[in-house]
């Protein structure tokens, strides 16, 4: 029995080492922030979302579905790039309809959220480094 326990311990160690290496490789690209907002007249049925287990739905799946639909019309509403030295570049689609204007509010808000999320990641790294 203790042999099994030791084996379990080794496996756990491997799992956690894998986690640390994932964190290491995933945080390499935090120098710039990119916030992108699209709108489109495509359809992604509720049933498809539910089928993908709502919270676990992957944006790639949505894009894949859109790619298979010939009548998809994806429009870039706004794009913002924030560099670590605080340089900010924003593109906004011209001639936004009044309805699409509402999506600008979403874009602005996501920009704030992305900054907050990045700060949390920086805090995570700080926390891991701190003895």
């Amino acid at each position: 029995m203790p042999e099994q326990v030791d084996q379990g311990k080794d496996q756990l160690k491997k799992g956690f080492k894998g986690l640390l290496s994932k964190i290491g490789s995933a945080i390499e690209d935090a120098a710039t922030l990119e916030v992108t907002t699209f709108s489109g007249n495509f359809e992604y049925k509720a049933s498809d979302v539910i089928k993908n287990n709502v919270n676990k739905v992957q944006i790639e799946n949505v894009l894949k579905t859109m790619a298979t639909q010939s009548d998809v019309n994806l429009t870039l509403v706004a794009y913002t790039n924030v560099k670590i030295d605080s340089d900010v570049t924003t593109f906004v689609k011209g001639n936004l309809t009044s309805e699409q204007n509402e999506l600008l509010a979403l874009h602005k808000d996501m920009l704030e959220s992305s900054k907050e999320a990045r700060q949390s990641v920086i805090n995570l790294v700080k926390g891991l480094i701190k003895a």
Partner: protein, 538 residues
């Protein structure tokens, strides 16, 4: 074990942790937000409405600090409701008011005061805590205020801290007032015989009264006789009807219930179940305290005659009810050391028995029920008792490993707290990890149309949103949801950082139970540090 396997195993662990099941429902009933007959899974809509009403009342409760509300919003919506339901029903570290409710007021405050009166046997209409605050409330509060020699407001606040309340009584009354007598006609001969040791009781009494006082002499002459025929039952009967002493018996029952020794009704009845719980708590501390002075049950509780018992509550309340050991640290941190240093076979036994305890807790029927017009309930706010157990971590570990059933109820109370923190800790940890692995996607859908909004957050901060609807209401809903998600992210990533650090420090000893204890330990310490950060005076 691959990383995905590890995360999958943790997800299962979090899912199978006993859900809080009926804790929230019980509190909603206790506060009068939910009628008892709606406290079943068939009435989930009514339960949700009751929670909603509670949350609305909470927003206007100026005795809850805004930063505390903000802090628990960061941990998650379920945790938010549960935390505040537990907080307002807590009698360890409960809420304190600046004023009493206005006449005829129905508010969370009036409900809390009725709930407290009900617990301490002073609310004349059990299960009607939703009643308005009236002169009847005031009369009952005044009876209690008379016992504690304080104003009604001070009394209502003192009930939020049962230890402080008990301490106050102990400092207010002469020692002899804590020597109680009661009639318990349903106790069996076995228990009576076991406790019929008046000599030992007398010796302990002399110690606690600090000498052979007049009261001691009076007891010796009238009650503590070796010849039963010479015992004055009239003295015992009149002593048993003293209102303060009756209240003290109720207080002891509440203490026993709060600490998990007593699972019966709060009914003032010192019947066999309450008596047994008293004996159990004495055995518990005898067994758990290394090197401390052990006491025999009959030294503090003795059978006299005709169903009458004498109880040295002075010793009992001082020794077992008051928790003052702040130096013992945290139970789960101490348990962490025990598990870390245990051999493989003991770790395995601990894990297996923990699993058994989890199943027991999960299988428990803890629906709030009505019995003889009273609410059968569990005490969930076990903060101070957990503090006391911290100094007994070595014994608690042994009891779990050896599967000691004698103290099962107490252990279940402690591990209910463990599993609750484990479940929420695992959720925060996995939320943080999912974000790190780039899996944090939020979708908001319109129930009526096929409209939806989808946003993906990447670890480097990049955010992509796709919308197939420009509906203002849906966009606002999505913004609100994401704001909430990002604000909880900071907490989740802090949990990840602390757990990863803790695990790597103990990597050579790492086992599954040690990992689980690490998660609970990390989650509790982060909650505490957030609390300090958010609640520190500006």
């Amino acid at each position: 074990m691959l990383l995905q396997e590890l995360l999958g195993k943790l997800e299962i662990e979090g899912d199978k942790s006993p859900s809080k099941k009926n804790e929230d429902t019980q509190h909603l009933v206790e506060l009068g937000y939910l009628p008892l007959f709606h406290a079943t899974p068939f009435f989930s809509k009514q339960v949700a409405l009751a929670k909603q009403q509670f949350l609305e009342d909470l927003q206007t409760a100026n005795y809850i600090e805004a930063p505390e509300l903000e802090l628990y919003q960061k941990i998650g919506p379920d945790e938010f409701v549960s935390y505040f339901l537990r907080k307002v029903t807590d009698i360890d570290e409960g809420v304190v008011f600046k004023s009493l409710p206005a006449p005829k007021e129905i508010s969370l405050k009036s409900r809390i005061i009725h709930y407290r009166l009900d617990l301490f046997g002073m609310w004349i209409q059990p299960l009607t805590t939703q009643s308005p605050y009236t002169s009847r409330t005031d009369v009952q509060l005044r009876i209690l205020a008379e016992h504690v020699k304080l104003s009604t407001l001070e009394t209502a606040n003192l009930l939020a801290d049962i230890e402080k309340f008990t301490d106050h009584l102990l400092s207010l009354y002469p020692q002899q007032d804590f020597i109680l007598s009661f009639k318990s006609p349903n106790t069996d001969d076995g228990m009576r015989k076991k406790l019929q040791r008046r000599g030992a009781f007398k010796s302990q009494l002399v110690d606690d009264l600090e000498g052979r006082t007049d009261f001691f002499k009076q007891l010796k002459k009238n009650v503590l006789r070796s010849n039963d025929k010479k015992i004055d039952t009239g003295f015992l009967s009149s002593n048993s009807r003293n209102p303060l002493k009756l209240f003290l018996l109720r207080l002891i029952q509440v203490h026993q219930w709060k600490n998990g020794f007593y699972s019966g009704l709060l009914d003032d009845d010192m019947g066999p179940v309450t008596l047994q719980s008293t004996l159990d708590s004495i055995a518990f501390y005898n067994d758990g305290l290394d090197g401390g002075k052990k006491i025999k049950e009959f030294q503090v509780l003795t059978y006299v005659t005709d169903g009458y018992f004498l109880f040295n509550a002075l010793f009992f309340l001082r020794k077992y009810a008051i928790e003052k050991d702040d130096k013992a640290g945290d139970l789960w941190s101490n348990m962490h050391e025990e598990v870390k240093n245990a051999k493989g076979d003991k770790q395995e036994a601990f894990q297996n028995n923990l699993e058994g305890m989890r199943k027991q807790l999960d299988g428990e029927d803890d629906h709030p029920k009505q019995k003889r017009g009273l609410l059968a309930r569990i005490y969930f706010g076990i903060g101070s008792f957990i503090k006391k157990l911290a100094g007994m971590a070595k014994k608690v570990f042994k009891w779990v490993v050896k599967k000691v059933t004698k103290f099962l109820n107490v252990l279940k109370n402690a591990f209910r707290d463990f599993f609750k923190n484990l479940k929420t800790g695992i959720k925060a940890f996995l939320d943080g990890i999912k974000f790190i692995l780039g899996n944090k996607t939020s979708v908001t859908m319109d129930d009526g149309t096929s409209g939806w909004l989808l946003t993906k957050f990447r670890l480097d901060g990049d955010v992509t949103s796709i919308a197939n609807s420009n509906d203002l209401e849906l966009i606002q809903k999505h913004i609100h949801k994401n704001k909430y998600m990002v604000s909880t992210l900071g907490f989740a990533l802090t949990v990840v950082s602390v757990i990863v650090k803790l695990v790597f420090r103990a990597l050579n000893f790492l086992s599954w139970p040690l990992l689980l204890i690490n998660i609970v330990k990390a989650f509790k310490s982060i909650k505490a540090s957030y609390q300090t950060l958010y609640l520190k005076p500006v």
